[in-house]
Amino acid sequence: MATAAEQWVLVEMVQALYEEKEELIEEWQPEPLVPPVSGDHPALNYNVVSGPPSHNIVVNGKKCVNFASFNFLGLLDDPRVKAAALVSLRKYGVGTCGPRGFYGTFDVHLDLEDRLAKFMQTEEAIIYSYGFATIASAIPAYSKRGDIVFVDRAACFAIQKGLQASRSDIQLFKHNDMADLERLLKEQEIEDQKNPRKARVTRRFIVVEGLYMNTGTICPLPELVKLKYKYKARIFLEESLSFGVLGEHGRGVTEHFGISIDDIDLISANMENSLASIGGFCCGRSFVIDHQRLSGQGYCFSASLPPLLAAAAIEALNIMEENPGIFSVLREKCKRIHKALQGISGLKVVGESFSPAFHLQLQESTGSREDDVKLLQEIVNHCMDRSIALTQARYLEKEEKCLPPPSIRVVVTVEQTDEELERAARTIKEVAQAVLL
């Protein structure tokens, strides 16, 4: 039993601990709710656009040629599209005030889903009202805890958020490196052989983009399909940048490579780029797409797409189907400016030659990302002074899994004439020489 003297020591120790606790509480300083931000943060100095962001865009009161908006087919200012939207506006009003399951389904939605399914030659399509939410809802609808997703390192932020929401095991493979993907798949196969009962209940997915937003490169779809059948994984293809761009009729990467669309389990795309509408769609087999009608969080719990935008998308699809020649015209223009921008000292062109959205990165980084961003911003500002509207690719730097290097993103649209492309290439060359030397 403890003696009286030892008991005194225990009480003293406890009292000392309490005092220490009080001291620590007094010393503690809370972090500010809003951390201090420097005055030249890009979110605080934004450019103001007056009027539509069409081919001739008015930025900060200055008329420029638009090389920044993803208006690939120039449908943003198309009179037919605007007329269809106005007719729909007069008929339905502006919003739908309800999700699809709660009186928010209009005939234009069903029409658009039908048309998209027919256009992409799949069984069914499903519409989301926000492009970002499309792939971010589609992935967690199929992939749950315990499932494995193999995803490219350069996947866009929407895919990353979808993967985070899915709570699955994420395996990143190096960008467009099929050998790395095969290595990961092989390792998974070995794990599966060790534990076949667990393997029987785990689903495997491969998530890739057709044309990557962060790098402008194309995914090697034929090898991916081979790997899919060899290792029994399902492919989710995100075609936001390649829908309405690649392929003979604009159907995307599958048409570009001549792969049967039944080999891809789910195609998800943004309607905010080529179709110049808002929202997104997923298409595939009925068996696959029907599941999202109850499990797609963005479908069930968000208000549906405003009918005027759905009507605009239908009209845009009509235009795409009527002149399939614009896709090759767009690709020609992309190749032209890609060639024209080669050989700038200090800037390198990152992206495929036929990609309408490619990046200009610094050949040699200064060492700190902030300085790189400042340099590129100078180039962008000078180009803006010479009426070429460019933008830097912006990321949430703390949230991205694999942050791409800072770059200027150049977008090519069908509406840009050859002279404007030449002028843009010349301007960028001169400005880059002036700023970087």
Partner: protein
């Protein structure tokens, strides 16, 4: 997994109140207060009180209103059906009731895993049996006590009606142990020899 998670406290209070009880009571009060109410209002009250924000309804189905009574009636029904078969003597019928009840309880509570519906938590309970899902893993709740005591009560009745015969005793005891052991908190999430793990 284990008791004491923050969101398990409300289910206990609801269990003691009886789920949906207050809604039915208010509906009853309104119905009696307006006896001349037309049929349409009764139809429009169809889905009053059915929306819930429970992430995994499996966790509180055994706390629902009337389910304990339904369970007892079901066991009684099984017993009466077995009693109606002319070949079985009373001891055999009681042993059969005990064994079939325990077998069904083992299959539904301790073998079948996950949920028959999709849950918004991305499959957190995919590998858990219904017993492990009950009340989000909180131990010694009223439903758990009820479901542990009911096989014991059946066992006592079966022992009495089989006049403590040796063979019946062995069968009934083995059956009782098979259904009591998985209910121990020490066996929460335990899968012996990897059986039923995935």
């Amino acid at each position: 997994m284990g008791g004491g998670s923050a969101d398990s406290v409300p289910p206990i209070e609801r269990a003691q109140m009886g789920e949906g009880g207050c809604f039915l009571e208010t509906a009853g009060v309104e119905a009696s207060a307006a006896p001349r109410a037309p049929r349409a209002s009764e139809a429009s009250r169809m889905n009053v009180g059915v929306a819930h924000s429970e992430v995994n309804p499996n966790t509180r189905v055994m706390n629902s209103r009337g389910i304990w009574l339904a369970y007892i009636i079901l066991v009684g029904l099984l017993h009466v059906v077995l009693l109606s078969i002319p070949f079985f003597s009373i001891p055999v019928v009681w042993t059969l009731t005990n064994v079939i009840h325990n077998l069904a309880m083992y299959v539904f509570l301790h073998t079948v895993k996950g949920t028959p519906f999709e849950t918004p938590d991305q499959g957190k309970a995919r590998l858990l049996t219904h017993w492990e899902q009950m009340d989000y893993g909180l131990q010694f709740t009223s439903s758990r006590k009820f479901l542990s005591i009911s096989p014991i009560v059946l066992y006592l009745l079966a022992s009495f009606y089989t006049k403590y015969d040796a063979a019946h005793f062995l069968i009934n005891t083995a059956s009782l142990l098979s259904v009591l052991l998985p209910k121990l908190p020490q066996f929460h999430g335990v899968r012996l020899f990897g059986i039923n793990k995935y």
